[in-house]
């Protein structure tokens, strides 16, 4: 079996071979192939800039792998600001002895995921570390996008807004947890990992004013709503029975004592828009497989305190708190 050796990270002949045989081959584009110390980019628009490192375990899971995550995650951070993803960096840290074939599989997934937004990898870095310094592979991506609309911000949520979630949530967290706990599922539960830019682009093109947009990654729905309540100094009131969670996710949560709204998602986003625009938003989102069941879950109000309130079907209310404690390490 061909494996990655320390020499592939040494900066000499073998590093050049790896870069040519794998990264240039699959990520090929004119800017990347210039192979300078930095990529030169002509954008001339206001840009968005973001980064994420990916350490997920297992690296291959139902619905994706660490490569899909590494592209979708960074592309989505740009999309959530209303920026069209244009250019990404990719930096691999690989454990000595890692399978070349698995690395190529990851790189091909990345290439396929890039095609969904049209973004290109234009610069990168490869480090190989001795056995035991790292568990298998970590990937960092940073991304640059061109801002296509103004004013999307966690600070911009308005009293009277509607809160919409793009799909049922908790799938990524539940999938990774099930894989790690060795839970065999009689179902096709898989991660929601997905590039969200096409839906965001359609929302922008429709002319709908989106006040806030955020993908519910680590910390899940609970973290996003709490951050929004704090940043915009508003109360967010959510109807618990409207929260969309599939049976498999609910089952895993009950079995292991988690809440689906704390679980990480990798292709699920939350919107705050004027109540008048709810139908228009749902119409746009239903055109995409990954958001065809978008759901209106709650409202932004002037209630005190400025926190997130869950209303039950029976009329009781409680705070949805910011997640606390360990949750799930290496979820993304």
């Amino acid at each position: 079996m061909k494996t990655i050796q320390l020499s592939h990270g040494g900066g000499g002949e073998e590093t050049n071979d790896l870069i040519s045989d794998l990264f240039y081959k699959h990520f090929s584009n004119e800017i990347l192939l210039k192979a300078e110390d930095a990529a030169i980019l002509h954008i001339n628009e206001t840009i968005a800039f973001t980064t994420d490192s990916f350490t997920v375990s297992p690296i291959f899971f139902k619905g994706g792998d660490i490569g899909k995550l590494a592209i979708a995650g960074t592309v989505n951070d740009l999309a959530m600001m209303g920026a069209k993803p244009l250019y990404l960096s990719s930096s691999f840290i690989i454990e000595e002895g890692f399978s070349f074939k698995e690395l190529e599989r990851i790189v091909i997934t990345m290439k396929n995921e890039l095609a969904k937004s049209g973004a290109k990898i234009v610069c990168g870095d490869t480090k190989v570390v001795p056995k035991g310094s790292l568990d298998k592979i970590f990937i960092n991506t940073a991304g640059i996008g061109a801002l296509k609309t103004d004013g999307i911000s966690a600070h911009n949520i308005q009293e009277g807004d509607a809160i919409i979630v793009s799909r049922d949530f908790g799938r990524h967290g539940a999938t990774i947890l099930a894989a790690r706990e060795g839970i065999e599922l009689d179902s096709d539960l898989e991660s929601d990992c997905e590039t969200l830019w096409p839906a965001v682009e359609a929302l922008i093109n429709s002319g709908i004013k989106v006040n806030a947009l955020r993908d519910a990654t680590r910390g899940g729905l609970a973290a996003v709503l709490n951050e929004w309540a704090l940043s915009s100094n508003v109360c967010i009131e959510v109807e618990e029975e409207k929260l969309p969670v599939c049976d498999e996710v609910q089952g895993i949560c009950e079995m292991l004592g988690f809440e689906a709204y704390d679980f990480a998602n990798e292709g699920t986003f939350i919107l705050s828009v004027s109540k008048d625009d709810v139908e228009k938003v749902l119409d746009v989102l239903k055109e995409f497989d990954f958001s065809s069941n978008a759901t209106y879950i709650g409202s932004v109000t002037n209630e005190k305190p400025k926190k997130v309130i869950l209303h039950s079907a029976w009329g009781s209310r409680r705070y949805l708190e910011l997640p606390k404690g360990e949750l799930l390490p290496r979820i993304c």
Copy 2:
């Protein structure tokens, strides 16, 4: 001892606390503090974009630490394209149980190194992985700079150019190797790790036309010169006796069987400029401590083959080859 826990990477309350108490505190700037999914940047110039991951071991070494490397490394990649470093991302992957005090020491080093170029950290990411998934801490930085001059490129080296190295080389590699092998030195040998933008800016402002510029990191002087010969299809002839290597580095090389020109540097760069400009270049570089002993080491010619030739003082010649094999893992 306060340590980093898995909960600091969970995306909930403890993550927010760590970000506020450490990263926002030391990297504080208006863009970063907006805490959106991506930083919004108004540049409106052609930009350079680059990334590097840092995995050095030991994380603290003579002349620097992993944080200094993470800033200088990415800032230098921008500088080597003639781009003024403006905005950086920083992404930390930390092993559970890592000392908070050491993390803060690294973050403060980063802050101090940023001040040398004026670049700002505007976005970031923090992951904490379970004990054993990673050795201590890895840092990725990506950077955006504004291009201040055109035409600096490995493809742009001209016959008749002079090759200049900014200082004696091999210090970073020798320092890390000595630390790892437990070699006690009766000297003050330390890494050359340094932000090079001030010297590059001075070269640009002087009006000197620089054809190629590259910091000699992994693979050292040998890798840069070989890449240049290949990219520009030229022969680079170097006079061995002019190569500046300090006695300590030479001693470590002889003791352990390495060549200083294969060693990584983190604050040493190579220039290709017209022979007519050599004196002007040396005059500019001598104004900076880190390049006050810049040396004219060789020439670009039309000889065949298009490789790097080392001329000895006794008239013999041999090829300086691209480094091959393991070299030194986790050097940067």
